[in-house]
């Protein structure tokens, strides 16, 4: 395009661009949802409720950030939720074996990272579809968790963890602050480092990335390890939240983490991503259940309402046309 063919206003350009809006579906949806819920029930935006919503969203945010890296390479990690379960069980076993808090936390993170690394290695070296490998890991990690824990939950009473779960700065609980730090770091990693560019290139066109000498295998291994590591961090927050390390799988986190990513405007085909989008997607999903509960919507109607809102949030962007 020559200079003559370019309209001058740069700002206008972004706001009239459909792609821009499509990427921010989640944000628009979140704002609308908040307005509706606040009108219907004024306690929705009370500081207490905002604080508890944020805490409730923290784990999902962290998992969604990990999932974003994987999805940016064009993959999908179906095992995040059960790797988190595995991390939690490892934490529980370590704690009862007297490794102490720090040792147990390390245990959880290392277990998560190793599971992620295994995913990445099998996908990169074995050249098997992400879907099948992580589906296998979903099963294998929950099996390993069951075996380790012998099927029984371990109650963990630790004052530090309890403070972690309930304390914070202002309306931001500690889990929220941890999630924010992780999201900011992830944004930096994705958009301000060579590694991040290579992640996007791998997702955009593995062929082209390979041709420029990027080792897409190594990139894949790295993103799955990141997803596993973050699942391990999620496990620690989960234990702080529910006060126990349980071997039962948290299936809802799986679909919700992918939903947050997609609602956040990240294409499952890979190559384009944001971190803010999935974070807002996670907040949207959390606000949705919170609001429906506050409004006292009957249990039977909640799934229907969730389904409709999710589709509407995605449809929203289309009206911008």
């Amino acid at each position: 395009m020559t200079a003559a063919a370019v309209l001058p206003a740069k700002k206008e350009h972004r706001l009239t661009d459909l792609g821009f809006w499509a990427e921010w579906a989640a944000a628009v949806g979140l704002v609308l949802l908040v307005v509706v819920f606040q009108i219907l029930n004024p306690t929705f935006l009370s500081s207490g409720n905002i604080a508890s919503m944020l805490v409730a969203a923290a784990i999902l945010v962290i998992l969604a950030v990990g999932q974003t890296f994987v999805v940016a390479t064009g993959g999908i990690d179906l095992s995040v939720a059960s790797v988190m379960t595995l991390g939690a069980v490892v934490f529980g076993q370590a704690y009862t074996m007297g490794w102490g808090l720090i040792g147990s936390c390390l245990g959880a993170v290392v277990a998560g990272s190793l599971a992620g690394l295994a995913n990445g290695l099998i996908i990169a070296k074995g050249r098997i579809t992400d879907f099948i490998v992580t589906l296998g890991m979903l099963s294998a990690a929950s099996g390993a968790a069951l075996i380790l824990a012998d099927g029984k939950p371990v109650t963990i009473v630790d004052t530090f963890l309890l403070k972690l779960a309930t304390g914070g700065i202002g309306i931001f609980g500690w889990p929220v602050i941890i999630a924010i730090v992780i999201a900011v770091a992830a944004h930096g990693l994705l958009f301000w480092t060579r590694f991040g560019t290579h992640v996007l290139a791998t997702g955009g066109s593995a062929e082209a990335a390979t041709a420029t000498g990027i080792s897409t295998g190594r990139v894949k291994i790295a993103v799955y390890t990141i997803a596993g590591l973050l699942a391990g961090v999620g496990a620690i927050l989960l234990i702080a939240r529910v006060g126990a390390a349980e071997p039962a799988s948290n299936t809802s986190f799986l679909l919700n983490s992918v939903a947050a990513v997609v609602l956040g405007g990240v294409s499952l085909l890979g190559g384009r991503a944001t971190i803010l989008g999935p974070v807002i997607g996670a907040l949207l999903l959390t606000a949705l259940t919170n609001g429906l509960t506050l409004l006292g919507v009957s249990q039977f109607y909640q799934p229907l309402a969730v389904g409709l809102v999710v589709v509407l949030a995605a449809l929203l962007t289309r009206f911008q046309k």
Binding site: R241, G243, A248, T293
Partner: protein, 313 residues
Amino acid sequence: DEGTTAGGDAKVAAVIKGLDNPFFQSMEAGINDQAKTSGTTVTVQAANSISDTTGQADKLTGLAGQDFGCYIVNPISGTNLIQGIAQLAAQKKTIVNIDSPVDAEAAKAANATPATYIGTNNVSAGQKAGEQMLTLLPGGGKVAAIGGTAGDVTSGARVEGFTTAVTGKLELVQTVAANWERQEALTQATNILRAQPDLAGFFVANDDMGLGVARAVATAGKTGQVKVISVDGIKDALEAVKAGQVDAVVAQYPYAIGQMGMEACQAAAKGATLPASVEAPVEVVTKENADKALAATPKPFGEYADPFTSLIG
């Protein structure tokens, strides 16, 4: 410990387990019916599914910020609701724990002991089923257990109770997980029948799966020959007992549990001191008493002690 609000506000919130299971629907009905007869308002929320621990926790924290006077909680695991309960305790709200107990140690750490606990111990329900199995199989034999989701607390407790009751007398050959799904239970039971041609009985962790297992036994042409015992006491299962497809059901009466939970809130609102723990009724339904059980369902057919009726006068 009383922990009531001074004004006697009886607005009640309840957080129970997944409503996709008739057991908890019956519990909800008990809560709602009692609220209606006494003119109290109640909001009942349930987890999305029986394994949705964090979702349930989110629901309780969502309700905790509102102006209810009394909270009925039925936690999925011993500790998953502990944060919300701590929040409630700090606000000096009444907490009534029904069905599954809140972990005592965790409750103490959170400075939040529920005002009362109403429920049946799942271990003892499993035990009752085990004892019934022993009477059905006086000559011993092989039995298998079908649990819910692997690692699930309720399922674990029921199977554990059953196992302790039959250890040494029956041979428990296999325990499988069927995810609380009837279809899955049917498939797994079919497989087990194939692997163990001389199997004498199934213990099933809930009625819905129990009906699937009964189907598998019927398809194999072994009804009556292979005993089926399940836990819960939903209506369909009682009918199946009557029809002879299921041999016995250990009924736990969630309706009565819900009703008593609501009564406890009313009593607390009146300023009464609540008993620390109330045993809910459990009955073993067999072909002999199936008619009586069906006629009374969702209430227990036998007598049971309800300490709250006197408290709310």
